[in-house]
C-alpha cells in the first residue's frame, strides 16, 4: 500500500507550459497515469509530448478521461482559481506545485477545499509526492527512490531528495514520500501525513524533515508519543544556524523575534526528543539514525 496516491491515480495536469510538460512527461515515463492536460484555448487538441487529450476544463478531464488527481503547475496569480476549479470538478487529490501563492488566496482555498470540502490538497509550493513503483505526482526525481517501508514527510523539496538519497544508498526504500511545502498555509499538514502513515500497513517507520518556524512538528510529535510510541520515527529540523528574525527562503521559515518560543531548530529538537523521537543535526545523521532504529 501507499498513502494518497497509488496505481489507480489518474492525473490531469493544470498548466501545460514548459515546466508542466517537462515534469508531467517525467511522471509519465515513471509509469504515472497522466490522462489529460487542461488549457482554455487548446481544448480539443492533443498534448503532443504526452500523447493525451487537452480539455478546456478540469470537469471535462474528470468526466471524459476519468481524472481523480490534479497536478497544478499554473503561475501563482492563477493558482487559487486552478485549485478551486479542480475541487469543484470533483477531483479527490490536488497537488499544487506552484510557489509564491499569496497567503490570502490560500486562506480562502484552505477553508473551501480542505476544511469544508474535505479534499486532499498537497502544497502549494511543494515538490509533490511519490509512491515508488506506483505513481509520482509532482517534481520529485524518481531515480533516487526505491520501494520500501519508510514513510517520508517534509516541508522542503530538495532536502527531501537529500534524505531519500542517503536512505537509498543504505538500501532503505520508501513507502510514500510526501513533500507538503514550506508555506504558512498549506493543505496537508505534517500531522495529517503522519496519521496516514500510521494507518498504512506498508509503512513501518517514519522519517520527517522539519524546519524552523511554526509548531507543526511539535504537534505531530505529541501525537506520535500518544498514539504510535513503538513506531521508529526519525527527524531532522533544518535551520540550526538560522539567525532570529530573518526569513530563510521559505515564507514560513522564520524564527520570530519575541515569538512564542519553540520555533528554533534547537528548541524543536529538544521538544521532539522529549516525545521519544530521534532528531538529527543534519540529513546524513537522520539517515544514519533511521538505519539504527530499523536494525534495533
Amino acid at each position: 500500500m501507499s498513502i494518497f496516491i497509488d496505481e489507480n491515480t489518474k492525473v490531469v495536469v493544470q498548466g501545460i507550459g514548459s515546466q508542466g510538460t517537462f515534469h508531467a512527461k517525467r511522471n509519465q515515463a515513471y509509469g504515472t497515469s497522466i490522462v489529460a492536460g487542461t488549457h482554455p484555448k487548446k481544448s480539443g487538441t492533443t498534448w503532443e509530448e504526452l500523447d493525451v487529450p487537452v480539455f478546456a476544463t478540469v470537469k471535462e478531464a474528470v468526466t471524459e478521461a476519468g481524472a481523480n488527481t490534479s497536478m497544478v503547475m499554473v503561475p501563482a496569480p492563477f493558482t487559487k482559481d486552478a485549485i478551486l476549479e479542480a475541487y469543484e470538478a470533483g477531483v479527490q487529490t490536488i497537488v499544487a506545485v506552484t510557489e509564491g501563492v499569496p497567503v490570502h488566496d490560500m486562506t480562502e482555498v484552505y477553508d473551501t477545499v480542505v476544511r469544508r470540502g474535505g479534499v486532499r490538497l498537497i502544497g502549494p509550493n511543494c515538490p509533490g509526492l511519490i509512491s515508488p513503483g506506483k505513481s509520482n505526482v509532482g517534481i520529485i526525481p524518481a531515480d533516487i527512490t526505491m520501494p520500501g517501508k519508510v514513510g517520508l514527510v517534509s516541508r522542503s523539496g530538495t532536502l527531501t531528495y537529500q534524505i531519500m538519497h542517503e536512505l537509498a544508498q543504505a538500501g532503505i526504500g520508501i513507502s510514500t514520500c510526501v513533500g507538503i511545502g514550506g508555506d504558512p498555509v498549506i493543505g496537508t499538514q505534517f500531522l495529517d501525513v503522519i496519521q496516514a502513515f500510521a494507518q498504512d500497513p506498508d509503512t513501518e517507520a517514519i522519517a520527517f524533515v522539519g524546519e524552523i518556524g511554526g509548531s507543526e512538528e511539535q504537534k505531530a510529535g505529541e501525537w506520535i508519543r500518544d498514539n504510535i510510541p513503538d513506531t521508529p520515527v526519525v527527524g531532522y529540523i533544518a535551520g540550526f544556524e538560522a539567525p532570529e528574525g530573518k526569513q530563510m527562503g521559505h515564507a514560513g521559515a522564520i524564527v520570530k523575534e519575541g515569538g512564542p518560543g519553540g520555533e528554533s531548530a534547537a528548541e524543536k529538537k529538544e521538544i521532539l526528543e522529549g516525545y521519544g523521537i530521534s532528531v538529527a543535526m543534519n540529513p546524513s545523521e537522520a539517515a544514519q539514525l533511521m538505519i539504527e532504529r530499523l536494525d534495533s
Binding site: P141, T158, Y161, V185, I212, Y236, F240, K246
Partner: protein, 393 residues
C-alpha cells in the same frame, strides 16, 4: 515586506482607519526643523513627535521616539535620532508629526494566524507596552478572536467588532468609534494583502476620539502582482539592507548575509538551511544563505555565484545542488559561465551535484577542467572540504 510607521499610516489613511494629522518624513535636521516650524508656528500644534523610521520594534526604548514642544527641541532630537543604530538598523528617515493628546492607550491588531489558517484579531485595553508582556502578566486583558470565513468574505460585521472591544473592556464612550476603526482595519488588511496590521498604541485623545498613534504593517510580497508590485513602498534608505542583500533582491535571488567565511549556494531553502548546519558542524561558518531557487538557469547560477564571491569575507564557496526541478547540466553550465564571466578569483568552489541530470552536470564540469572547481561526492565531504579551504585561504 514590512512598512515603516509613516507608510503604515498612509495605508491606514486611504482605507479609512483614523490616524493623527499627516506629518512629514524627513532625512535631515533642517527638514525636521522646517516641518516642526510649520506644525507648531503655522498650524498651532502644541508639540511635535520626532520618530525614527526603522523596520524593527523597541524604537522608544532605544531613544528613537521623542516629544518636542518647540522647534529647537525638534532640531535637537532630530540630530540625536538621525544616524542612530537601533538593533542593527541605521535611522536615515525620521517622521515628524503633530503630537496627539493621549488620554488612554489600547492595543489592536489583525494578523494572519498560522495555526488556524485564518485571521486573528487581538485587542487589549492595555496598550503602549509590549503585548507579549501583557499576555504573560495579565492574559485576561488580551482578547483574541478568530475571523470566520464568512466574515472574511463579507467584511467584519460591526456587531462583532463591538463585541471584541466590549470584551476587551474599552470604556463605553469609545466603543462605537473603536468598533468602526476595527471594521476599517480588517478591510484594510484584506484590501492591501497584509499579513499583519498592528496598532500599538491605539489611543483615546483628550477630546474623546480614537486614532492609531502607531502603525505596523506587513504586506505579503507574493501578492505584489495585484498591487503594482508594491513599488509605492520602496523608499531609498529605509530598508537598511546589506548592499549585497539589496542587489540580490533586485535580481530575484534569495540571499541573506551572515557573518562567516564559507560562501553557500544551493537550490531550495531547506537544503540551503541544512548546508549552513553542516558547514557549522564541520567547524566552519557560513558567509551567507543563498537559494538559487527551483529550475535555476545557467544565467541565474552565474549571477548567484558572482554575488557570493563579491563578499570580501568569502574564502571558499560550497555549491550544494540536489536537482529536482533544477537540472544538473544547467547548474554545471552556470558554473562554467560564471568562472568565465568573473575572470580570475582566488576562492575555490566546492561543488556537490546530485539529482536530476547530475551525471550530465558532473561530466560538463569534468570536461571544462576548471582550476577553481573541486568536486566532492557527498554533502558531508563537500562541507568538510569547503571549511578546510576557507581555513587555508
Amino acid at each position: 515586506m514590512d512598512l515603516v510607521e509613516f507608510q503604515g499610516k498612509q495605508l491606514f489613511r486611504r482605507n479609512g482607519v483614523p490616524v493623527p494629522a499627516e506629518g512629514t518624513a524627513c532625512r535631515s535636521v533642517d527638514e525636521v526643523e522646517a516641518a516642526a516650524r510649520q506644525y507648531i508656528e503655522d498650524d498651532g500644534a502644541t508639540a511635535v513627535m520626532v520618530k525614527a523610521q526603522v523596520k524593527t520594534g523597541g524604537r522608544g526604548k532605544a531613544g528613537g521616539v521623542k516629544y518636542a514642544p518647540s522647534v529647537d527641541d525638534a532640531r535637537e532630537h532630530a540630530a540625536n535620532i538621525l544616524g542612530l543604530d537601533i538593533k542593527g538598523h541605521t535611522v536615515n528617515v525620521v517622521y515628524v508629526e503633530p503630537a496627539s493628546d493621549i488620554a488612554e492607550e489600547y492595543y489592536l491588531s489583525v494578523m494572519h494566524d498560522r495555526v488556524n489558517k485564518g485571521e486573528l484579531i487581538i485587542c487589549s485595553r492595555e496598550g503602549g507596552v509590549e503585548i507579549e508582556e501583557v499576555n504573560r502578566t495579565n492574559p485576561q486583558a488580551v482578547v483574541k478572536r478568530q475571523v470566520t470565513p464568512a466574515e472574511r468574505q463579507d467584511g467584519l460585521p460591526r456587531e462583532v467588532a463591538l463585541e471584541v472591544v466590549t470584551e476587551a473592556n474599552f470604556p463605553e464612550d469609545v466603543r462605537e468609534e473603536a468598533a468602526d476603526l476595527l471594521v476599517a482595519l480588517f478591510a484594510a488588511y484584506l484590501a492591501e494583502d497584509a499579513t499583519l496590521t498592528e496598532i500599538n498604541p491605539l489611543i483615546k485623545t483628550d477630546d474623546g476620539r480614537v486614532i492609531a498613534l502607531d502603525a505596523k504593517v506587513t504586506l505579503d510580497g507574493n501578492a505584489a502582482f495585484r498591487h503594482d508590485g508594491y513599488a509605492e513602498w520602496q523608499i531609498e534608505g529605509i530598508d537598511n539592507d546589506d548592499p549585497l542583500e539589496a542587489e540580490a533582491k533586485s535580481k530575484g535571488i534569495q540571499y541573506v548575509k551572515l557573518d562567516g567565511d564559507v560562501g553557500v549556494l544551493g537550490n531550495g531553502a531547506g537544503l540551503v538551511m541544512a548546508t549552513l548546519d553542516v558547514v557549522a558542524q564541520n567547524g566552519g561558518r557560513a558567509a551567507n544563505f543563498l537559494d538559487v531557487g527551483g529550475g535555476a538557469s545557467a544565467d541565474a547560477m552565474a549571477e548567484s555565484l558572482g554575488l557570493v564571491l563579491s563578499d570580501p569575507n568569502v574564502k571558499s564557496v560550497f555549491v550544494n545542488i540536489f536537482g529536482g526541478i533544477t537540472r544538473g547540466e544547467e547548474v554545471a553550465n552556470g558554473i562554467v559561465e560564471a568562472t568565465q564571466r568573473l575572470g580570475e578569483f582566488p576562492q575555490k568552489l566546492v561543488v556537490r551535484l546530485d539529482g536530476t541530470n547530475a551525471e550530465e552536470g558532473r561530466r560538463i564540469l569534468e570536461e571544462a577542467d576548471l582550476p577553481s572547481v573541486v568536486s566532492e561526492p557527498t554533502m558531508q565531504d563537500a562541507a568538510a572540504a569547503a571549511v578546510r579551504l576557507a581555513n587555508e585561504g
